[in-house]
Symmetry: C2
Subunit: 155 residues, 2 copies
DNA sequence: CGATGCGGTCTCTTTTCGAGACCGACGCTA
DNA sequence: TAGCGTCGGTCTCGAAAAGAGACCGCATCG
C-alpha cells in the first residue's frame, strides 16, 4: 500500500507513473490508439489474462482515461479514449522513437506517418519560449506552484 | 514467461515497454536524471525495497541504459546514464507534460526550465518532414522494414 | 434447437513484491 | 586497535499480484 502513496508526492512524473507504470496499462493504451475498442480484441491482441484486463480497463475508466459505452451499431461494450487519454499519445510516441532507435535492428517495424505528407511523427523536447531543442543537460528544475501548495498543506 | 515474449513482437512501443513497463523502472530513471547515482540514494528517495532496487539496477545495466562504475572521488559504486539511457528523457518529459496537465491541480510542482531563458521544456509531436504539429488523428501507420524482416524470419 | 461471440467472473497455482534482518568491506575516530 | 557508521549487496518469509483456464448469462444467427 505504500507504493500507491507515491502519488501524493509533488512530482508530475511520479504521479502519472503510479497510474500508468505497470506491465499492461501502456500496452492497453497502445492498442486503444491503434483503434481497438473491444474487450476481446484487447485480450487476444495482447495475450493478457482476462481478469487482468478487466482490472486495468476498469482502472483506466476510473481515471477518466478510457470511457466505457455501448457501441452505437451493436450491443457490445466499447472502450474509447477520452480527451485525457488521447493526450497520452506523446508518451507512446516518445517510447516509439526510443524503440526505433535502440530496439529495432532491422529498422522501424511501423512508420507512423503524417497523413498529409511522407514525413514521420517524431517527438521533440523544446523550449516553449525560445523554441530551441533541448536535452536533459539544458534543463534546470525549479520549484513551481504545485510544490509550494504541497508544502503549505503538509506543513 | 509469456509476457517477456512480447519483446519479440515487431513493435517499437511494445519492446521498450517490456523493459521499462513496471512499477519502479521509470521512477529509478527519473531519479537518475535528477542526478542520483548511488544505490542508497535511489533507495531512500523512492522507498523501493533494496532487493527490488538491486534487481532493477542490474536489469538497466544489462540493457545498457545505466552504467555501473566506481566513483572517481571515492570507493563507492555509481550508476550513471549511458547515451542510450540519456535518450529516454523525452519519455519522462512527455509523462511530465501529461502529469502537469491532468494531475497537478495546484499547478506544476516543478518547472523544467531552459537554462538559457525563462521558458519551460515541453514535448511536441511533429512531422519530421513538414514540421507540422501532429496528434494521433494525423498519424497513419504503415509497415516498415523491421516488420518485413520479422515476417521473413518467422515465415 | 445448437453453435458462436460477447463482456465479465471465479478459482487455483505460480510468480513477484515488500519488509526487514543480515553481510563483508571500507573509512573514520577515539 | 576496537568501536562505529556507511557503503552496496544478499537472504528469508509472508503478502500481494499475475497467469491459466474454466465458467457464466446474454444475445445473435443458422
Amino acid at each position: 500500500m505504500r507504493y500507491e502513496q507515491l502519488a501524493d508526492l509533488p512530482c508530475s512524473i511520479t504521479r502519472p507513473l503510479v497510474v500508468l507504470g505497470d506491465r499492461w496499462t501502456l500496452l492497453i493504451l497502445k492498442e486503444a490508439f491503434a483503434g481497438v475498442r473491444r474487450f476481446n480484441a484487447f485480450q487476444s491482441n495482447l495475450g493478457i489474462p482476462r481478469s487482468r484486463l478487466q482490472d486495468r480497463l476498469g482502472r483506466l475508466v476510473d481515471h477518466g482515461i478510457l470511457v466505457r459505452q455501448q457501441a452505437v451499431d451493436g450491443d457490445h461494450a466499447e472502450y474509447r479514449l477520452s480527451r485525457k487519454g488521447h493526450d497520452l499519445y506523446p508518451i507512446l510516441m516518445a517510447i516509439k522513437d526510443w524503440g526505433d532507435a535502440y530496439m529495432a535492428p532491422d529498422g522501424p517495424p511501423v512508420h507512423y506517418r503524417h497523413r498529409e505528407c511522407t514525413g514521420e511523427a517524431r517527438v521533440a523536447l523544446a523550449c516553449d519560449c525560445c523554441g530551441e531543442p533541448m536535452t536533459a543537460h539544458d534543463v534546470l528544475p525549479e520549484a513551481g506552484p504545485g510544490l509550494l501548495a504541497h508544502v503549505d498543506a503538509q506543513g
